[in-house]
Chain length 205, copies 3
């Protein structure tokens, strides 16, 4: 399990580093500003998760590979910076992958700590969503994850589904691929058809 979690952490870090670097580039930060926002976006959610658990070391502190994954993501984003207007879709896609991968790690760690299922899902959503929240707070925007079509919702859905699959002892790789794919596909469908949550402000307008 731990090996799989580490692998997921690497891929998710790479994906989110690209997303973070692209937002930083859009805001014209300097070279190291881009690197640090990429880093914070990539590891922010998992870092908060690990800090919440008193006895848990933050995952990237003793794992240089995460740093390499972030550097790789940030450098790739910078190399292709000139084609930034072509990047709308990749930003979106990498972000969806990161969301799916990180959510499932967070839920699994919650299970390892025997937390209440609802809190496991919450831990998954924090892991998946808060890197992006910190990214947007740093560049001084209201976090898109709280406004955009079905974002945190996709994470909550996938986290809940994973818990159900664990309960029925579905074997790997299905156990992890099904909820991760659910999150990614939910994001793609929601964005393609700009599906949002039911508008809770309807009646005031």
């Amino acid at each position: 399990m731990n090996l799989i979690i580490e692998h997921i952490n690497l891929m998710g870090s790479f994906a989110f580093a690209i997303s973070g670097a692209l937002v930083a580039l859009r805001n014209k930060l300097d070279l190291f500003g881009v690197l640090i926002v990429a880093f914070v976006t990539a590891v922010g959610g998992g870092t908060i998760r690990d800090m919440l658990l008193a006895d848990r070391d933050v995952f990237w502190l003793f794992d240089i590979h995460v740093i390499y994954a972030v550097l790789a993501g940030a450098i790739i984003a910078m190399i292709f910076r000139k084609k930034l207007h072509f990047f709308e879709k990749p930003i979106f896609f990498y972000d969806a992958i990161g969301l799916g991968l990180f959510t499932i790690t967070g839920v699994q760690i919650g299970i390892d700590y025997h937390l209440n299922p609802l809190i496991c899902i919450l831990l998954g959503t924090i892991t998946g969503v808060f890197g992006g929240v910190i990214r947007d707070v740093i560049v001084n925007e209201i976090p898109v994850v709280f406004q955009k079509e079905i974002y945190a919702t996709a994470s909550l859905l996938g986290g809940g589904l994973y818990l159900i699959l664990v309960h029925f002892e579905i074997p790997n790789p299905y156990l992890q691929i099904i909820p991760i794919a659910t999150i990614i596909i939910t994001r793609i469908i929601a964005a393609t058809y700009t599906i949002s949550l039911p508008n809770i402000y309807k009646k005031e307008q």
Copy 2:
């Protein structure tokens, strides 16, 4: 003591969740955006407090009741969203209660850890104030608690008073009710008569 702290945590979480949800609704966040901002406002201060203490698990991680209290607060705020313009006073009032309740828990935990009295008061203020700071930073406003009439000041006052009462071994419930009421009443008086701290900018104007 622990039972009382848990009870206070629940009531404070409920109060702050309402305040957080209302600010999120004012900023037109989506359904889960509202839930997460309510959650972060409610548990943010106590979460930072518990993360600062190396051996301390974050209070809501092993206590599903806090999550229920936050959900209840957020849902109540959303149900009454249409009457949002009637909510100026309740936002204020719930916020004052949360500030009072959380400040005293923070100071008490500082005492349990045998921290310096000044640091106990600081820990109380962090517990009471930083949920609101995170809330405002997320919706991209300068935290009201650093600008509004006598806010952090009320927390510091109540925290100091609590320490004095502990020193003189005043019994419960007076021990806790007196400083909590002091914080709430200080906030009400300050807001009613718009009393602010002495203006440190006077001479420049």
Copy 3:
């Protein structure tokens, strides 16, 4: 070593508290808003560093002297608030000192934990830079450290140099003075001649 780290923490806290208080004063926060932003600027980086390490108590929690250093810095900044327009240079200079001092503490703590050298440097940069990041996020600005001439870069440079000097077993006080001075001088030269990182946006313009 620990004594030296503590001494550095005090001086750095004092320097950053002044920088934080001055930014808060510029944004017209109230008295306790100024105190808390000064506090957060001063201890923010070191606090994140200590929270990342699971078994480490946050440095100021058991050390009242840090609180006194922050109070001293904040009060000095407030007393001289009327001459705020004369403060451009002191803000800058205190900030550079704090950056140098805190970076080296962070790297040294990374070495104590036998972390990978790259992660030691990162820990030093987090310690040196994130107090200022939190300060700017709170007053709702994009962190200057990600935009300004050679800021995080100076921290990374000094941190790398310190690691090299440690490797060659250079004795104290040279071991610490050389990289700290390098960071401060790099900042002064970069700001005097407004040297920035190579502009990665050149080609789009």
